[in-house]
Symmetry: C2
Subunit: 281 residues, 2 copies
């Protein structure tokens, strides 16, 4: 996916959201916003917006001297962990646990405090469990998951990873080997190894990092080790809009589970903002 | 009113709205957005956002080589003229024509295609004629208008000026001398002399221009002739958010008639976005 004119106001909006995680100092906010503007002016429109947001979040962290999302990530991991026992019961008690877990993984993608300033988790769960979602390649997903020996599961946001845990459990229950992938270092509210550890993911499956601080998965910026894993996996499960932006043209067998949060991505997909997708590559 | 961080995404959003009035050429849009970013980076946060939007609309007109709002302004003047006979009947047939005309003048302020991409004129008229609006200094307004020999009426948007005509007629009917003020040259969708002529305003009252292409009324940029008029007027009627932003600290006896359209102005006022105001200075 490429960058559109409508991404520009959103680049600044995301900058403001990030700054407000950490500081109410309006002079500091002004200084950093103004320093981010040349980064935005350098946007390559042929590339996904994730390139520019990666650059701008790098600059924000540098200027603040710390990761503005650290505390919020921890909070949302805890909140989601509180929901876990009930959600797990819902999965186990359902007619088709893989279906329910896949839908809940999509529901969890609403936890994105880089884009939203308020989050309705319960509403998202209710919507995700309705019979129809905007794009639903579940039957293909079930078949592909049934055939795959190794699945590489690209995680997205903190908090959301608790919902992913449910789906990873179901994939493993049917005999699949799942490797979960976090970001190499802090970026936005994306899960890193620290977040995976907070929710106990390494006790369930192998967790690796992609060696990158990019939004989504910008393959050329990931580590050689991750690229080798990516190449050899039978199936990729890709969570979130950032991974969709950056991997939507991939030749790998990939299923994208996400909510289309912004007007630009939704328009590109021909869908309403807020649509839920389980989409085959 | 000063500039807030949240104005920055909106500066770019307004730029995109302006460009789309005239061109679908995405390469041209990209070039101009990127040229506008340094203008935005130079924003003086102590001043109203109208300063920055003035600079950016100047740059947009220069880069496009023409006024992107010219055609849309003409269209909305025509549309509003189509509503005029019915609105005039509503004023004349009402229990208090001055009240009704003032409320309709506020309703007309919804016509702002610099901020909105779609406009609900009928909905705005209905809301404006409800007994309560967010800020209602009508009794003071009626008293002040009754005492004033000369009223300077600062117009805002094209199309909206047809609604202002109704209020000017009522002020004149009670013996007031009204002088209407348009912008000195094209800026955004603001009314210029050409627009005033399209709706027949010079046949009703004296119409003058403020010698400026600024959003709102930035006094130091207006002509000496206008400033003299401003100083000597008994009463100022100020239409629109831009005039409120730039004149809200004035010592002149002023009534601001407008809808608070953006989150920033609304927050500054402690009101919900979309609130309607007839506010004493």
């Amino acid at each position: 996916m490429r960058t559109y004119a409508d991404c520009f106001p959103c680049f600044i909006r995301q900058t403001i959201i990030a700054l407000r995680q950490l500081t109410d100092d309006e002079a500091l906010q002004e200084r950093i916003i103004k320093e981010v503007l040349p980064v935005i002016a350098a946007a390559d429109m042929r590339k996904p917006p994730a390139y520019t947001t990666t650059f701008l979040h790098r600059m924000i962290r540098e200027q603040l001297g710390q990761d503005p999302f650290k505390k919020t990530k921890h909070t949302f991991n805890s909140l989601a962990l509180g929901l876990y026992p009930e959600l797990r019961e819902r999965v186990r008690g359902s007619a088709e646990p893989l279906w329910t877990a896949a839908r809940l993984a999509i529901a969890g993608n609403v936890i994105d405090f880089g884009i939203f300033s308020s989050i309705d988790i319960n509403g998202s769960v209710t919507r995700a469990l309705e019979p129809r979602i905007a794009v639903d390649d579940y039957e293909s997903f079930r078949a592909a998951a049934g055939e795959a020996d190794s699945i590489l599961y690209l995680l997205d946001n903190s908090g959301e990873i608790v919902f992913d845990r449910l789906l990873i459990e179901e994939l493993q229950a049917s005999g699949r080997k799942v490797k979960a992938v976090v970001k190499g270092s802090a970026v936005l509210n994306d899960a890193t190894m620290e977040d995976a550890m907070q929710i106990g993911l390494p006790e369930l499956c192998e967790v690796t990092d992609n060696g990158s601080d990019a939004i989504g998965t910008i393959l050329e910026w990931t580590s050689p080790g991750f690229r080798a894993e990516f190449e050899k996996a039978d199936l990729i499960v890709s969570k979130g809009q950032g991974n969709f932006e950056t991997l939507s043209g991939t030749r790998k067998k990939t299923f994208f589970l996400f909510q289309s949060k912004c007007g630009v991505v939704s328009k590109d997909l021909g869908l309403e903002p807020g649509s839920m997708l389980l989409k085959k590559s």
